[in-house]
């Protein structure tokens, strides 16, 4: 072990900023990012439910925020985070259960699919929700 004031001459392990981004890495990072986002989002969904139980004025206030432009944007991001975390979480269960999908090619494709699922899925849900 290096003493005080003396730099350790051994090379450092690679840090995040010098890694070449690839699909499986992005897939893993966004699982955590979407999870943390959903943690915050659940407090907003909770606020909706609490307002509904509180009364019409409280509900009107939450509705006003939810239907504003920032509110709609936040809800769209929330739906994307739900779909991504759902798809990638299903993949985690498949990894842990039947233990398939570890081959590099398959793993990369699967990551791409999960991102596409989240983006296209959110777009489909929002267009369906505004039509019906």
């Amino acid at each position: 072990m290096a003493g005080p004031g003396q730099a350790d001459p051994r090379p450092l392990s690679p840090h995040l900023q010098i890694w070449k981004w690839h699909w499986t890495m992005a897939g893993s990072i966004f699982h955590r990012v979407s999870g943390v986002g959903l943690y915050g989002g659940s407090f907003l969904i909770g606020a909706w439910l609490i307002a509904l139980a509180t009364g019409p004025e409280a509900y009107k206030f939450v509705e006003m925020i939810a239907f504003s432009l920032p509110g709609q944007l936040l809800l769209f991001l929330w739906s994307m985070a739900v779909l991504y975390h759902f798809a990638n979480g299903l993949r985690h269960l498949i990894w842990d259960g039947p233990m398939v999908g570890f081959k590099p090619g398959v793993a990369s494709l699967w990551s791409m699919f999960n991102f596409a699922f989240a983006i296209i899925g959110a777009a489909v849900i929002w267009s369906l929700a505004s039509f019906f």
Binding site: Y39, L49, L52, Y59, L93, D96
Partner: protein, 126 residues
């Protein structure tokens, strides 16, 4: 799932065994079924306005599924946030404080939201 006592007795550096991992998976498994229902329902409830949303929550099946979704999701996210805190917060005091805050925040949210569902359900029936 059992592991031989000899191997788990020490519990390693984390101070905990496989229980956390298994619970994260079991709640995930429940959410595989609950989340699609929740997404479909919440959109309908939100579009129905105040009265419509009340009627929706007051349906027994919806109230039960809502409480199950809340319980599974909140437990799942408490476990998830715990790992994030343990990974990134090195200082022991800060880490302990955040871990406790995580637990408090999630339990407070669970209590408030589940009581809200029950309140709507009971008042609609009266």
């Amino acid at each position: 799932m059992t592991t031989s006592a000899k191997t788990v007795r020490g519990l390693g550096a984390a101070g905990a065994g496989t229980q956390h991992h298994i619970r994260q998976r079991v709640t995930a498994l429940a959410l595989v079924f609950l989340v699609p229902w929740f997404l479909y329902s919440i959109i309908h409830a939100c579009k129905a306005g105040y009265e419509g949303a009340l009627i929706w929550v007051a349906q027994p099946v919806n109230a039960i599924l809502l409480i199950l979704t809340l319980s599974a999701a909140l437990y799942h996210m408490r476990l998830g946030m715990q790992v994030v805190i343990e990974d990134y917060i090195g200082k022991s005091g800060t880490r302990q404080a955040l871990l406790i805050l995580n637990t408090f925040a999630v339990i407070a949210l669970a209590a408030a939201t589940i009581l809200s569902v029950l309140k709507i359900w009971f008042t609609a029936g009266a």
